[in-house]
Amino acid sequence: METLLNRYRNVTVLLLALFAQLILLAYQVKTNEDVRLIRLWAVSAVTPLARLLETGRARASSLIEDYFDLVGVRQENRRLLAELGRLKMENQYLRTELGTAERAEALAAFQARSPSKTVAARVIATGAGQGSKVVFVDRGSNSGVQKGMAVIKPSGIVGRVMAVYPASAQVLLVSDANFAAGVISQKHRVVGTLKGTGSSHCIVDYLQNEERVEVGEWFYTSGDDRLYPRGLPVGPVTSAGTGKTFKQVHIMPSGLEGGLDEVLIVIEGVHQPIPESQQATGIYMLPVPQEEQPQPDAATAGDRSFLLSTEADRLLDHYKRVGEAQGHVFGEGPTPDFNIQPGEPAPAPAQAPGEGGSAEAAPAAPAALSGQPQAGGATPARKSVPAQLPKQRPAATSAKPPADEPVR
């Protein structure tokens, strides 16, 4: 450096002299904005350097901050992931609880709508054997459960109680090979026996090949087995074909769909009518008049047997009341007069037709035969002639002739 200055001493001094005078000039001269040139030059000289320094500082600072932020972000990420996992599990639990609550609500609503007396139960275990279609529920004899009681869901039948314990019960599912129940089709009123096959499907046995069964047609419980109340849905037909001896009809049980969590055990069943199938004709039709439903009256309010009101039950009940009205004990002495309706006085001894009977008996007999409502409030459906066939199904929804219907 010293050698360089010595070699170019004259030029160096020249430059120094010029620089000094330039500074002197810049101190004196002002710009149009009344700013000295020297200040303007100094600011102009420093500004790029300052900008560069500031840019570097900012970038370095952001780099360091981002690094530390990244560390914090990583920890935050871990924490959030853990919380997310916990919230997911909680959400799943709450969804399960909500589903349970919804199912319980649906069960409660079904219980409220259903005339049958039921008790809700939760499935707590399944059978230990391979392929066993058995489950355990948390209701037992302490809750009034008895062997043979039906187990249902709002969507359909589930099974029946096989064994009862104090606080639990064993239920045989409809899909078990040992299960059987009486069923009837919705549209064509074809009666058969539902049997489990050990798989997810069930079959309806003992159907003649001539019987009409359509795919998609629903089967309901017929009530003939005295196990299930009449009118409970069983499932839709998945296939129907002609077999060697009987028709091959397969059903998908609707009660087993959606899993088994909560079920209802029928303590006291009430038969209901089979819902009519909706015909795709586009014509609005009124529902079937409720003629099959027996109306409870004061005379039978406490009678338990009235609740199981099939045609046979109603007939039996009628016989009982006739016997009670006449003080007759069945199996002893002469048979009672079935022409006399319960609540009416016994007619006078038999007279010649020309002599004229009592005024009360004459109108009573036609009235009884015609099935008109009596003074005792009997239902129009009750027949005074025991040998009379059951009332026909409504013609609007039944396409079959009366002769095809089985005698009940």
Partner: protein, 178 residues
């Protein structure tokens, strides 16, 4: 080397004369030039065409043959001239600094005691001074300088005419040293 070179340049055989001046001469001559530049135009306005401080700077720079001396002589004379003008300090100083440096550098190669050489140098340095000052004024002060080259050439000629007798007058004040 041809005859021109032998006549006007300083060869090794002839050596280099180092000319010195008395101190009062170094102070009085520039001061007189500056004062005359300030006072005379009051009575004789064409005198503004001449730049006596520049001529004195050139003389001392070429006769002393020292770039360092030329730098300080030009800076000093120029700053004093600035101080007595309306221009900011440093305008004439910077330009005369450069002129003094170049004049001293050039004088090493030429025989500056010859009249033609002095005439030429004076003319060239005046033009250099004129355009350097215009450029500096334009750059720093934003002033529109005189860009007319013909006028500048005329002024350079006139100053060169004045420079020859002035240099001869100042020769009488030098102190020769071998």
């Amino acid at each position: 080397m041809n005859q021109f070179g032998e006549t006007y340049t300083l060869g090794r055989a002839r050596g280099r004369k180092l000319l010195r001046f008395r101190l009062w001469v170094l102070l009085a001559a520039p001061l007189a030039a500056i004062l005359s530049q300030v006072y005379v135009p009051l009575f004789f306005s064409p005198f503004t065409l001449f730049d006596l401080p520049l001529l004195v700077t050139v003389y001392f720079a070429v006769m002393r043959r020292s770039p360092m001396f030329g730098i300080f002589a030009g800076a000093g004379i120029g700053l004093v001239q600035d101080a007595l003008s309306q221009q900011p300090l440093g305008m004439f100083g910077m330009v005369k600094t450069v002129v003094g440096f170049i004049a001293a550098s050039v004088s090493v190669r030429f025989d500056v005691e010859l009249a033609p050489v002095r005439f030429t140098l004076a003319c060239l340095f005046f033009l250099l001074h004129h355009f350097a000052y215009a450029g500096l004024a334009h750059w720093l002060l934003g002033q529109a300088g005189e860009a007319e080259f013909g006028r500048a050439l005329l002024m350079a000629f006139l100053n060169a005419l004045v420079a020859v007798p002035l240099f001869h007058l100042l020769d009488r004040l030098k102190k020769d040293e071998d």
